[in-house]
Amino acid sequence: MLPRLFTPSIMSTLEQPELKTPAPVPPAPRHRRRRAAVRTPRVRWRRNRLAYALIAPAVVFMVLVHLLPMLGGFYLSFKKLNTFTFSQLWGAPWNGLENYRSILFDSENPLHSGFFEAVGNTIQYTFFTVLGTLGGGLAIAVLLNRPMRGIKVVRTLMLAPWVVPSFVVAVLWGFMWQSDNGIINKILVDYTGLLSERPVWLIGHNTIWAIIIPSIWRGLPFAMLIFLAGLQAIPDELNEAAQIDGAGPWRRFRFITLPLIRPLIAVQLLFGVIYATYQYAIPVVMMGSNPGPDADLMMTLIVRQSFSNNLFGFGAAASTLVMLAMLVWVFVWWAAFRRDMQPQT
């Protein structure tokens, strides 16, 4: 039974943690709060027990499938787990902070350089993917946000890449990137003559772009849709009034559109960064379990070292570090955007 439990415990730390946008609690009106304080806990329990009953299954499930495996993974990150010990699992020798130390500071350990290579690649991947997705999505949304014929058809077509599963995206682009007979090099070299030599995409330094571009391609439609909904909610009067006052398109975008869709940017930034950091399917399907020194991401590294090389201690420690990094990101994000998340009054 143990390994069954074990596998999801690592996996859960790999998957996206359930990071909910902290919902702002509207300050309760004063008189109600005072009345509630007078009530005894028993009264409150009786009043709310329906609500508790309703959320109970969800809470139990969350604890079972999420919290416990996550704590299990955290615990295992202090264990010496390798080929010879992993079958003991919880009983494996205690390793203290050694897993963390060797990852972070031991330059003699081969896992150390691999880890920092993957950190660098993941940062590059996340930065460009999120930038491309949000920037491109916003640009297309602005272009589509005007009355024109066939807008619904265009919008539907724009959504197509979003419904393609990541796995299929990676297979398709994997073929398109092939240097000898892929469509991309055919366009760049044979049809348009933009380049004189065929670039190689799936090995060497270009690999990181071979995964960033399909990721943007896939994420863009959703971002576009959200931005378009936001743009359409902006009252026409605002733009008209600004136009009468002599504001050009850029100034209207800068001072009306952008501030009004700031909350939408914030939310997508939060999820986009987390989602990109946890990317696994696209590099693995396109380039195999080891995408090479230029495209090895955190998740491909962790999965490979844990599940192919039995270094579950390393995997658990690296997963914990990624999770901590994501928590830091959420705090940074919250500090930057908390005011945008308050209800507009």
């Binding site: 080929t83 079958s87 699992l89 081969p110 190689v200 799936l202 090995i203 380039m287 080891n290 192919s308």
Partner: protein, 458 residues
């Protein structure tokens, strides 16, 4: 208010009951199995066999093979397919948890790792039933053990080795005699050069002299190590305590292989593909030579394999791997073995199954279905007599060598694969600029990683 509460609790109760029932369901089945097997004396009942995707129709082929077994012994066999992509995890988890089938197929190089988990039966006292060591070639038998330990943890099932595939028509056009074309490293290189110079196209379509997959292929190491062995190198020191992949001999072997890429004799765009895709490139007439296993030879006679173009299908030639500077030629020999789980509740019936699958004729027939060689000595040599190409493959098996049978081998192979992949990428002009120093530094890194893994054993 009250009725809503009742509904909510009912839902919660329903979910909880469903969970409990589901959990009990699992237990129920295994306990009834146990009762059934302890009652029987003569091996009977049902055994579960895990197989990987051997050939295009793995499960029907296996069921057909086992029909006479069930008819004769009354033992039913449940054949379950476990894909090669997940088999490592599944077999490992089954061995550790004790919840698995009775018998599983396993790759020959995986046996030491699985055996070291402790979840597999030591077959030492049983293997005399199938002829023991004398019935198998030495290299094949070695894949049933863990280095430095007593015990036999597997029964060899089928064998493969890597050999050179070439196009007879292309060689003819290039004016190269197939008998000497792949004799040694120099003639191999000269052959590729002749194809490059004299046969750039076949039927108006470009053809590259040689193509091999890069790091995307799970078996990259199987295609590089023969050259390391040829040059006198080895994967590990004789006492299996240290990596020797950064020795000058090993480096010479790796540089020979990478040099083919650097000098344009090997098609660099094949590095972007995985093993199956490059195999299709040979079948499709895009590359003139290629290193592969025996199953591709068998597929040339299958009309339902549409990857073959006619010219390639009609002109397949096989040659054993070339001799290196030490006048020795090696190739990787692998295949699959059968392992019995300690947790099996029906070991005698499971052993009957292994015995059946170890019969000469059964092995030969099944190996033929997949385009593999049987693992047994006599059966193997018979298959080798089929025709000229099979004779060449049989010769290749005789040059066969496998990796040190230690539990960490799989991990070390992964480390080597990563570094070999980097070296090939840089020889293809991608990544770091190619030089001897870069090869050396990658091999040093591979050796360092391997040493760390070897140290795990204590």
């Amino acid at each position: 208010m009250r009725s809503r509460l009742v509904i909510a609790w009912a839902i919660a109760l329903f979910v909880a009951t469903a969970l409990v029932v589901a959990a009990c369901g699992g237990d129920d089945k295994s306990s009834s199995d146990k009762a059934a097997t302890t009652a029987a004396k003569k091996p009977s009942g049902t055994v579960t066999l895990w197989i990987m995707n051997n050939g295009p129709q793995p499960v029907p082929d296996m069921e057909k093979t086992l029909a006479p077994f069930t008819a004769k012994t009354g033992i039913k066999v449940k054949v379950e397919l476990v894909g090669w992509d997940v088999q490592f995890d599944r077999i490992r988890n089954a061995a550790v948890s004790g919840e698995g089938p009775d018998v599983t197929q396993a790759g020959t190089t995986q046996v030491p790792f699985f055996a070291a988990l402790g979840g597999f039966e030591n077959l030492n006292s049983r293997v005399k039933d199938i002829g023991g060591q004398p019935a198998y070639p030495e290299g094949v038998w070695n894949t049933t053990k863990i280095a430095g330990q007593d015990g036999v943890f597997a029964a060899p099932w089928f064998t493969e080795a890597r050999a050179i595939y070439y196009r007879k028509d292309v060689l003819e056009k290039a004016g190269v005699d197939p008998a000497t074309a792949f004799k040694d490293w120099d003639s191999f290189r000269a052959t590729l050069q002749a194809i490059k110079d004299k046969v750039p196209t076949v039927d108006g379509k470009n053809i590259e002299p040689f193509g091999q997959p890069g790091k995307k292929a799970f078996d990259l190491v199987h295609h590089v190590m023969p050259f390391v062995w040829d040059a006198g190198g080895a994967e590990l020191s004789d006492d299996l305590k240290k990596s020797t992949i950064n020795s000058p001999e090993a480096q010479q072997g790796v540089e020979y292989f990478a040099g083919l890429l650097k000098d344009g004799l090997m098609d660099k765009s094949q590095l972007e593909r995985d093993g199956t895709q490059v195999e299709s490139q040979f079948k499709g007439g895009k590359i003139a030579t290629w290193i592969g296993g025996p199953w591709t030879l068998q597929s040339a006679s299958r009309t339902d394999d549409k990857n073959w173009v006619q010219a390639a299908r009609d002109n397949v030639g096989i040659a054993p791997m070339p001799q290196g500077p030490q006048s020795q030629a090696f190739t990787f020999v692998g295949g699959s073995n059968l392992m019995m789980f300690k947790s099996s509740k029906n070991k005698d019936a499971a052993w009957e199954l292994v015995k059946f699958l170890s019969q000469d004729q059964v092995q030969t027939d099944y190996a033929n279905l997949m385009g593999m060689f049987p693992a047994r000595k006599e059966a193997q040599s018979k298959v080798g007599e089929q025709d000229d190409n099979h004779k060449q493959f049989f010769a290749a098996i005789q040059q066969g060598r496998t990796y040190a049978p230690i539990p960490q081998w799989g991990q070390i192979e992964n480390a080597y694969k990563t570094r070999f992949g980097n070296i090939l990428d840089s020889a293809a002009g991608q990544g770091k600029p190619y030089s001897s120093a870069v090869v050396k530094s990658e091999l040093d890194a591979a050796a360092k990683e391997a040493d760390t893994l070897l140290a795990q054993g204590g």
